[in-house]
C-alpha cells in the first residue's frame, strides 16, 4: 500500500502521543473502535475554563492511516473551542492525508473520537466534580 508523504510523516513522527489523567475534570476522553476490527483510537482533550481545547493527546492501535488520522486530529483541535472541534469532518482529515478509499474508515474513526471526547468532557462538567471511571462503559 502506497502512503502519502503526510501519512508517513505523522506515522514516523506522531504528534501529541500520550495520556492525560482521565479522572481530571478538565479532561475529556474518547475511545472508539474495537480490537476485533483492527483499530482502536483513544483521544483526550484538556479544556480550559473558556471552553477552549488547550492540549490534546492520543494513542492508537491500528494501521498507519489510523495513527496518522489521530495524530493530525490532535494538532487540529488544539486552540479550537469545543464547538469548533465538533465541526471537524472526516472528509477534511481524509483529504489532508490523501487517504485512499479503503482507509476512509480511519478518518471516520478520528471524527468519532473527537466527538466522543467532547461528549465525555461535557458529561463530566454536567456531573460536577464526580469523576467518571470509564470512558465508554
Amino acid at each position: 500500500m502506497a502512503y502519502s508523504a503526510k501519512v508517513l510523516d505523522h506515522y514516523e513522527n506522531p504528534r501529541n502521543v500520550g495520556s492525560f489523567d482521565k479522572n481530571d475534570p478538565s479532561v475529556g476522553t474518547g475511545m472508539v473502535g474495537a480490537p476485533a476490527c483492527g483499530d482502536v483510537m483513544k483521544l483526550q482533550i484538556k479544556v480550559n475554563e473558556q471552553g477552549v481545547i488547550e492540549d490534546a493527546r492520543f494513542k492508537t492501535y491500528g494501521c498507519g492511516s489510523a495513527i496518522a488520522s489521530s495524530s493530525l486530529l490532535t494538532e487540529w483541535v488544539k486552540g479550537k473551542t469545543l464547538e469548533e472541534a465538533t465541526r471537524i469532518k472526516n472528509t477534511e482529515i481524509a483529504e489532508e492525508l490523501a487517504l485512499p478509499p479503503v482507509k476512509i474508515h480511519c478518518s471516520v474513526l478520528a471524527e468519532d473520537a473527537i466527538k466522543a471526547a467532547i461528549a465525555d468532557y461535557q458529561r463530566k462538567q454536567a456531573q460536577g466534580e464526580a469523576p467518571r471511571q470509564e470512558c465508554n462503559s
Binding site: M1, Y3, Y11, P14, V17, S19, M31, V32, G33, A34, P35, A36, C37, G38, D39, V40, M41, K42, K59, T60, Y61, G62, C63, G64, A66, I67, V102, H105, V108, L109, D112, A116, N136, S137
Partner: protein, 417 residues
C-alpha cells in the same frame, strides 16, 4: 558504540530491504536462470517439445523429459506420474475438480481443512456449487489436524481428501504419511498440496500413500508460471481434464509445454534434492536465531506448532500492535502479515482464525520466511529492528496501556464500527 551507531555500521554491509518473504516467492537460483536462458533464442533449445518431425522438437522434448525425471527424483516418483501445469493453483484445481468430475458416480463428498490454500478451498467451493458436499475440518490450536477427526469425517460417499503438506502461513507440517494410510484403507483418494514443502521436507511417494500431489517451481528458486501435478499410476488415479486441446500430458493437460519454464523447474528440483539437508540445517539455525532474539519480548506468541514446522517459517503475533503498522515500521524488511489491513478483503487471516486465535492476535501477526539467500547479519538486523519498533508502537497503543493497567480487554465493551 551505542545501539544506533552499531546498527548503522551493520547496515553498511547490508542490502536493504531484506527479503524475508520466501513463502510468497523465491528469487530464481542463478544456476536455474542459466539453464532457462538456454531454451529461448534461435541459438538455444527453443523448439516445441510436441514437434515430432525435426530435431528442434526432439531436443526440446529431451529437455522436458530430463526435467520430469528431476522433479520425480526429488519426491521418489516415476517420471510418468508427473504432469506439467502452470503452477500449484492449477495443479490443485486439476486434482480436485478432475477427480471429483471423474468419480462423480462413485460419490460426491470431499474432505479438506479450513487452513488449506485458497486454491484448494475455492476449488471446493466451486464443487459445492455443482452439487458436491465438502467437509471443512478445523485444525487443532497448533495448526495440525487431529487424524481421528479426519477419520470420523470420512463417509461411504467420500471420494477425495485434500490436505496440504506444509501450511503457507504458519509452516506446520501435516502427517501426510499417516493420512495416506487412512485414506488408502478406506479407498478414498488423497490429494496433497506440496507447494510449500517440496525441497524443504522429505517426500517419498513410494512410501507415502498420496495419490495426487501439487508442486510449484517458484517456491523453491525456480521460475513463476510453472508447476506440476503428481498423479499416481499404481493404484491408478484417473482425472477429467480441465484444459482441452492438443492432448498433451497424456490428455490430462493440453497446452504447448513451456520448455524454458519446465527446464527451470527441473533444475530447481535437482538442486533442492542435492542441497536440501544442508540448506535446511542452515535455515533452521537462522530461524532459531530470529526466534531466540525476539521471544523474550512480552506478549509474543508463535502461531502454529514450533516443532512440527518447516525450517524457514516463523509466524508471530505481537499482541497489542496492529500488523500493518508493524509492517510499515519494518519497512527495511519484506515480510507479510495476517492483519486485515494487508488483505483485499479487510478480514484478518482465515488461517489464524481457524486456529482459534482471537482477532487481536490475528491482526497482530507477522510472517517471517527465511530462505537460501538469508544471512545471519540480516537476521540480527531484523531482531534489533523488531524489538525497537514493537516497543515504539506499544507506546502508541491504547490496548497496551490498558493491558499494563491490568484491564481485561476481553471484558471491555467496544464501540463497534
Amino acid at each position: 558504540m551505542d545501539q544506533h551507531n552499531e546498527r548503522e555500521a551493520r547496515q553498511g554491509r547490508l542490502k536493504l530491504p531484506i527479503y524475508l518473504d520466501y513463502a510468497a516467492t523465491t528469487p530464481v537460483d542463478p544456476r536455474v536462470a542459466e539453464k532457462m536462458c538456454a531454451c529461448l533464442t534461435l541459438d538455444g533449445n527453443f523448439g516445441n517439445p510436441a514437434s515430432r518431425s525435426h530435431v528442434f522438437g526432439w531436443r526440446a522434448e529431451e529437455a522436458v523429459e530430463e526435467a520430469r525425471r528431476q522433479v520425480a527424483a526429488l519426491v521418489n516418483a516415476d517420471p510418468r506420474e508427473i504432469i506439467w501445469t502452470s503452477g500449484a493453483t492449477e495443479s490443485d484445481n486439476l486434482a480436485i475438480k478432475g477427480v471429483a468430475h471423474f468419480y462423480r458416480n462413485k460419490g460426491r463428498h470431499i474432505v479438506t481443512c479450513k487452513t488449506e490454500h485458497k486454491a484448494v478451498l475455492d476449488a471446493c467451493r466451486q464443487l459445492e456449487r455443482e452439487g458436491y458436499e465438502v467437509t471443512y475440518l478445523d485444525p487443532e490450536p497448533n495448526g495440525l489436524l487431529d487424524l481421528d477427526k479426519l477419520q470420523q469425517a470420512l463417509r461411504d460417499d467420500t471420494i477425495l481428501v485434500s490436505i496440504m503438506h506444509v501450511n503457507n502461513e504458519i509452516g506446520v507440517i501435516q502427517d501426510i504419511e499417516a493420512i495416506g494410510e487412512i485414506t488408502r484403507e478406506r479407498g478414498v483418494l488423497f490429494h496433497c498440496d506440496a507447494a510449500q514443502s517440496a525441497g524443504k521436507v522429505e517426500i517419498d511417494l513410494q512410501r507415502m500413500k498420496v495419490d495426487l500431489m501439487s508442486f510449484s517451481a517458484h517456491k523453491i528458486y525456480g521460475p513463476k508460471g510453472v508447476g506440476a501435478l503428481y498423479v499416481r499410476r499404481k493404484p491408478r488415479v484417473r482425472l477429467e481434464a480441465q484444459m482441452h486441446g492438443g492432448g498433451h500430458e497424456r490428455g490430462m493437460r493440453s497446452g504447448t509445454l513451456p520448455t524454458h519454464q519446465i527446464v527451470g523447474m527441473g533444475e530447481a528440483f535437482r538442486i533442492a534434492r542435492e542441497e536440501m539437508a544442508q540448506e535446511n540445517a542452515r535455515i533452521l539455525q537462522l530461524r532459531n536465531r530470529l526466534w531466540n532474539g525476539i521471544k523474550d519480548i512480552e506478549e509474543v506468541y508463535v502461531n502454529g506448532d514450533l516443532e512440527r514446522r518447516v525450517a524457514g517459517n516463523l509466524n508471530v503475533s505481537f499482541n497489542f500492535v496492529e500488523g500493518e503498522s508493524l509492517i510499515m515500521a519494518l519497512k527495511d524488511m519484506a515480510v507479510s502479515s495476517g492483519s486485515a489491513c494487508t488483505s483485499a478483503s479487510l478480514e484478518p487471516s482465515y488461517v489464524l482464525r481457524a486456529l482459534g486465535r482471537n482477532d487481536e492476535l490475528a491482526h497482530s501477526s507477522i510472517r517471517f520466511t527465511i530462505g537460501r539467500y538469508t544471512t545471519q547479519e540480516e537476521i540480527d538486523y531484523t531482531v534489533a529492528t523488531v524489538r525497537e519498533k514493537v516497543a515504539k508502537l506499544r507506546d502508541l497503543s491504547p490496548l497496551w496501556e490498558m493491558y499494563k493497567e491490568g484491564i481485561d480487554l476481553s471484558k471491555v465493551q467496544w464501540a463497534a464500527h
